[in-house]
């Protein structure tokens, strides 16, 4: 087995009673990697994380941490630290006590405890808060303490279970940056659960996208974003969602084109994974930012569409267009404004598009 694996999960299955939550899951996480588990609510992310932490017993399979089989070990012996969505700070203890609790339980000498606490506090810049109780902290400060609690334990692997989802948008984006910084300075392995794709895209070295207990794709963010393995991944990532057009392939001229609702789109520039057969029923996926409008169109064909709704979002402007029966969302710069009902011309950037089989929904 490759030595560089920090956490390795083999054939893991877990059921609650008759409900199978995880099934035959395999996952290898490299040393120092920042892995994000992304998936919609209830897909089993927390369950997987709890298995790694030892808080849930797998029904079958094994878990290795640092090449040691820890499947049956107690959470504290696994060399992991965990940060929870609701912070889970001990409400009756001061921040300092919160941080040192685990160490005191383990019976570490006092000066060692003090050293570690002050190191964690300085890394997280919470020194002034050490004497306060959790109730006296703001959300972001609580989150930092929760991270600190994992930090003092000097562990190899950090587990985060949606650590930012209770915070408001502004704080979330600030703490996101801090976690990223922390990872850069500590270089620990981190496994991070979220259902927020922005968090996943910005933080991850690799993202594992889960759906009902199965990992759909495990890749770096760029690949996931640009070359989704299947339609689920494609639709799950990106906001607003990728535009999907149902249609079929047809031979036109000397190449193959995509036909949908009367319009036909040339597939020039599309990186094909397999041979394209005419007549095959497929779905074309194009992200809103890969559709050019009016002046932006750089050659190629153009189609006509009507502006239905305009959503200005500050930096960007989101258009919802009607085109041949489909509603298509398009992202343009924040400065470009359109009137509702206006007719525009659009062009697809096929180099960035995806084609999926209509049946299997796998990428072609």
């Amino acid at each position: 087995m490759a030595k560089q694996n920090s956490v390795s999960i083999r054939d893991l299955s877990l059921s609650f009673g008759s409900v199978k939550v995880l099934e035959n899951l395999n996952l290898n996480i490299r040393d120092g990697e920042f892995l994000v588990l992304l998936g919609s609510s209830g897909c089993g992310k927390s369950t997987l994380l709890n298995c790694i932490a030892g808080l849930l017993e797998p029904t079958e399979g094994q878990i290795f941490i640092k090449d040691r089989n820890v499947t049956w070990e107690e959470p504290k012996d696994r060399g992991i630290g965990m940060v929870f969505q609701s912070y889970a700070l001990y409400p009756q203890m001061t921040v300092e006590k919160n941080l040192s609790f685990g160490l005191r339980v383990a019976g570490l000498p006092t000066d060692e405890i003090a050293r570690r606490v002050s190191r964690a506090a300085s890394i997280l810049q919470i020194e002034p808060l050490l004497k306060r109780k959790p109730a006296e902290l703001s959300g972001g400060q609580r989150q930092r303490v929760a991270i600190g609690r994992a930090l003092v334990r000097d562990v190899d692997v950090f587990l985060f279970d949606e650590p930012l989802s209770n915070l408001d948008a502004k704080l979330r984006s600030e703490l996101r940056v801090e976690i990223k910084r922390l990872h850069q300075s500590l270089e620990n392995t981190m496994i991070y659960v979220t259902h927020d794709q922005i968090e996943a895209l910005t933080l991850a070295d690799r993202i594992a996208i889960m759906k009902s207990g199965v990992i759909q794709q495990l890749d770096d963010p760029t690949t996931i974003y640009n070359r989704p393995r299947n339609r689920f991944v494609a639709g799950f990532i990106g906001s607003p969602s990728m535009n999907f057009l149902k249609g079929e392939l047809a031979a036109e001229g000397d190449g193959i084109v995509f036909k949908a609702g009367g319009a036909s789109f040339s597939l020039d520039g599309y990186q094909v994974g397999e041979a394209l057969a005419s007549g095959r029923r497929v779905v074309l996926g194009v992200r809103p930012e890969h559709i050019r409008v009016d002046g932006d169109i750089q050659g190629g064909e153009a189609h006509e569409a009507v502006v239905e709704i305009e959503e200005p979002m500050g930096a960007d402007n989101l258009l919802w267009l009607k085109h041949a029966g489909h509603t298509i969302s398009v992202r343009v710069g924040g400065a470009r404004r359109f009137a509702v009902g206006a007719r525009v011309r659009i062009g697809f950037d096929m180099t960035m598009a995806s084609l999926f089989d209509a049946e299997t929904e796998e990428r072609i």
């Binding site: 087995m1 609650f16 009673g17 094994q62 089989n69 499947t71 049956w72």
Partner: protein, 300 residues
């Protein structure tokens, strides 16, 4: 190391050993006392044990005699009347009080304390006090008569037809405060937005309570039901203190039948048969409920 087999799985018995050790008292109580005691009781109900448990079996004789006894029949009837009425009244009175208390009233603490304090008193005391208040010579009847209504009659404890209601008055006095508290806690747990939504919809207060809030308080009602119902089945002290089952045997209840036959009549077999019948009734009511509550959503 990939070869390390899953047989490294430690013995399941020793997982969470401390939790299991700590649960031993609970398990012992459940098994030895409640289950064991029950089995023991049922077992000896088929004997003709007198003062001491003896293994001389008589089949169903004790049950036949039990159901032939008019006192037992009356006890069962009384329990049914008392049980149903006290359930209804506790819930209704408790809920109405709680609803009134929930109107952001002044002196809430005072009212709550007043409603709740009887719960601190034992049934013996409760029975005693109400026996006195309802006593025709000293109590309400005499006071009202002395005010001029000489024909006024209110002596529930000495009238076999209504004595059980006299007991009910005392029982409600003692127990509704707790129900009120439970209901109040339940009401406070209702989402504030529901009230607002109902107001915006223009739904009158009483309909909001009846059609929206009460259905939402199901868990509270269930907890309350368990508390009241377990009290009803066990009612004994109150009857003893208030009427000793009298006049005649008009206010007898099953628990008293059990006690009297076990210890006064020194006929354990008969007492056990009666308790078995009580247990059976309880089981018929409880087990389906327990199944729904605890079996249905295992990992709550």
């Amino acid at each position: 190391m990939a070869a390390q087999s899953p047989s490294g799985r430690p013995n399941q018995l020793f997982r969470n050993l401390n939790a299991k050790i700590a649960s031993i008292p609970m398990m012992l109580v459940a098994l030895v006392i409640f289950l064991g005691g029950t089995v023991w009781t049922v077992f000896y109900s088929f004997t003709n044990s007198r003062l001491l448990p003896r293994l001389s079996f008589v089949g169903l004789d004790q049950y036949e005699r039990l159901w032939a006894s008019s006192r037992w029949i009356i006890s069962i009837q009384n329990l049914a009347i008392y049980g149903i009425l006290s359930l209804i009244f506790s819930l209704v009175v408790g809920f109405v009080l709680a609803a009134l208390m929930d109107q952001k009233i002044r002196f809430e603490n005072t009212f709550r304390t007043i409603f709740l304090y009887p719960f601190a008193l034992s049934f013996i005391v409760t029975g005693l006090v109400w026996q006195w208040v309802l006593n025709p010579e000293f109590g309400i009847q005499s006071v009202i008569r002395s005010l001029g209504w000489t024909s006024f009659a209110f002596d529930p404890l000495y009238d076999p037809d209504i004595v059980i209601y006299g007991i009910l008055i005392a029982a409600l006095w003692q127990g509704t405060g707790l129900v009120m508290c439970l209901m109040l806690a339940g009401l406070r747990g209702i989402d504030e937005d529901i009230w607002k939504a109902a107001r915006v919809d223009g739904i009158p207060m009483w309909q909001t309570y009846l059609l929206i809030v009460i259905p939402m308080m199901r868990p509270v009602f269930i907890t309350t039901l368990v508390l009241i119902a377990s009290g009803i089945v066990k009612v004994y002290d109150l009857v003893v203190a208030q009427t000793s089952g009298g006049p005649g045997n008009a206010s007898e209840v099953p628990a008293k039948y059990v006690y009297d036959y076990m210890f006064q009549a020194q006929n354990l077999g008969q007492g056990f048969a009666a308790s078995t019948m009580m247990l059976l009734t309880v089981a018929i009511i409880i087990i389906p409920w327990a199944y729904l509550e605890f079996g249905g959503r295992k990992h709550g």
